[in-house]
């Protein structure tokens, strides 16, 4: 089978159409991805989630007399709960279609990936379903997060930079 259809005058045939030539035909009909709009929504909604987190943290500090560090963990917990509730009532994925990375990157995205997998696989039981599948998507984040942390640590050790440890 000839690899190209460049021979002038030869009748067009799908058998002789190369993958490359087909790709250029197909790409003409592909709708444009609105990158700029997607970036703007990701920034606004992702930023909104972070702003909400900041407000929650300030709330813990003001009303529960916590330090910045102390307020951090309960803040994350509240964001996770909100994400899990929105996932469970079928809203989070609708927001994510508009927000893209804006809802995927913050901790709410991590919670959504675990909660959605748990909901989806509950039908296969708690052990083989929920337990085995909860980290189906989140697993990679943990694995590569740990690997990245290891290499950053390595760079610090080689360069002799002492990470400042807060007790």
């Amino acid at each position: 089978m000839p690899a190209s259809t460049k021979n002038k005058g030869a009748k067009f045939s799908l058998d002789t159409l190369s993958n490359q030539d087909y790709k250029s035909i197909a790409q003409k009909h592909e709708p444009k991805r609105s990158t700029l709009k997607n970036c703007a929504f990701a920034f606004l909604i992702g930023g909104g989630i972070c702003l909400l987190g900041q407000a929650i943290q300030q709330g813990f500090m003001a009303w529960f007399d916590m330090s910045v560090k102390e307020a951090a963990s309960p803040t994350v917990a509240v964001l996770i709960i909100i994400s899990v509730i929105l996932t469970s009532i079928g809203v989070y994925d609708k927001i994510a279609q508009i927000a893209g990375a804006g809802t995927a990157v913050p901790v709410t995205g991590f919670a959504n990936s675990m909660c959605s997998a748990a909901l989806e696989h509950k039908s296969e039981g708690y052990v083989l379903g929920v337990g085995a599948n909860m980290f189906k998507l989140a697993g990679s984040v943990i694995v590569f997060g740990t690997v990245a942390a290891f290499f950053v640590g390595l760079v610090y050790a080689i360069l002799g930079l002492q990470g400042v440890h807060h007790p």
Binding site: N19, H29, P31, Y92, I98, A101, T103, L119
Partner: protein, 337 residues
């Protein structure tokens, strides 16, 4: 039966005695809502799991088809069916309920016409008198198996398609008054290197074009012969590509109306969440056994060619970086004058 190239001409005129469709709520909000037999108002189809929901759609559509053909389930001699789930489990469970001898087939979203073509072949060659062909898909089982958990927040590109929740079944037999299953063209596996599972239309377009070209080459007919030619689920990205390929191949598709089931099944303006259009086994099945069969029986159209398209990928194959092999099977339904 007369074989030319890859096309069967069914000489004894097997007929589509009846067809039935059962769909989910989103299809019920689409423009063809008046053509379905039953519309569920919930995506769960009153079941506990997505898989049970898909199975129920197929069970009900097959039972409705039997009733509409004025038959009993004991009179069905063979069932030919398939679906998108691993080991075509929805069809198997539905066939268990009907109890007739069963042939499971897999053609992804082309299963609707693959099963109809085989059913007509069995009847035409005298191997059977009444055969039920059917398929089903459910949006959430497809999402779960091929993509992400249904509630996972991922952003879909504009080329993505929306799996139809619905089932369509038809009964092919001798006698009766329905449209004749005149001929069928069995497709070849086509793969022009598209790897993106969110761009199925572009992956499947060459398969549709190849089968349509073969159909007219084998039969000596021209597109003018048909009042309508529809592809299965090429949607708004794949259909223009197929049109361009056919134009380059000098098949005069402008002689007829050339559309796509994935564009017919949803309201492309109001239901923008479907992105480029419908897909799934149920897509061409509900349009054929619901909308097109009704128009044929009302004699609004007399001759239609349905070219169901299927992307024969598995989650494993695309994760391993393989391209998407595709297929298309065409079946011609014709009302007699």
């Amino acid at each position: 039966m007369k074989l030319t190239g890859q096309t069967w001409e069914f000489t004894s005129k097997p007929r589509l005695l009846a067809g039935a469709t059962v769909v989910g709520p989103e299809e019920g909000q689409g423009p063809l809502s008046g053509d379905y037999d039953y519309i569920y108002d919930n995506l769960e189809i009153n079941e506990k799991t997505w898989e049970k929901a898909e199975r129920k759609l197929l069970e009900q559509a097959s039972q409705l088809a039997i009733v509409k053909a004025e038959l009993t389930k004991d009179q069905i001699q063979f069932i030919i069916g398939g679906d998108l789930l691993n080991q075509i489990i929805s069809s198997t469970f539905a066939a268990k309920k009907l109890g007739a001898p069963y042939l499971g087939v897999f053609g992804a979203c082309s299963t609707s016409m693959e099963s109809l073509a085989l059913a007509a072949l069995l009847v035409d060659t005298g191997a059977a008198e009444r055969v039920l062909a059917g398929t089903a898909s459910h949006n959430c089982t497809a999402e779960k198996q091929f993509r992400y958990p249904t509630e996972y927040g991922s952003q879909k590109p504009p080329t993505a398609q929306y799996t139809v929740t619905g089932s369509g079944c038809g009964i092919v037999g001798t006698g009766g008054t329905g449209p004749v299953v005149a001929r069928a063209t069995i497709g070849r596996v086509m793969d022009l290197g598209i790897k993106d599972p969110f761009n199925m239309g572009a992956a499947m377009a060459p398969a549709a074009a190849d089968t349509i070209e073969a159909h007219f080459r084998d039969t000596g007919l021209t597109p003018e012969h048909y009042d309508l030619i529809v592809t299965g689920d090429l949607a708004s990205v794949g259909l223009p590509i197929a049109k361009e390929l056919l134009q380059k191949a000098e098949v005069p598709m402008h002689e007829t109306e050339f559309n796509d089931c994935g564009l017919l099944v949803y309201d492309m303006q109001k239901q923008a969440y479907v992105k480029s259009g419908g897909s799934g086994c149920g897509c061409s099945a509900v349009v054929t056994y619901g909308h097109l069969l009704k128009r044929l029986n009302n004699k609004e159209i007399r001759k239609v060619l349905i070219v169901a398209t299927g992307a024969l990928l598995s989650p494993l194959s695309y994760q391993q970086g393989e391209s998407i092999p595709c297929i298309a099977h065409a079946v011609a339904l014709e009302m007699e004058d």
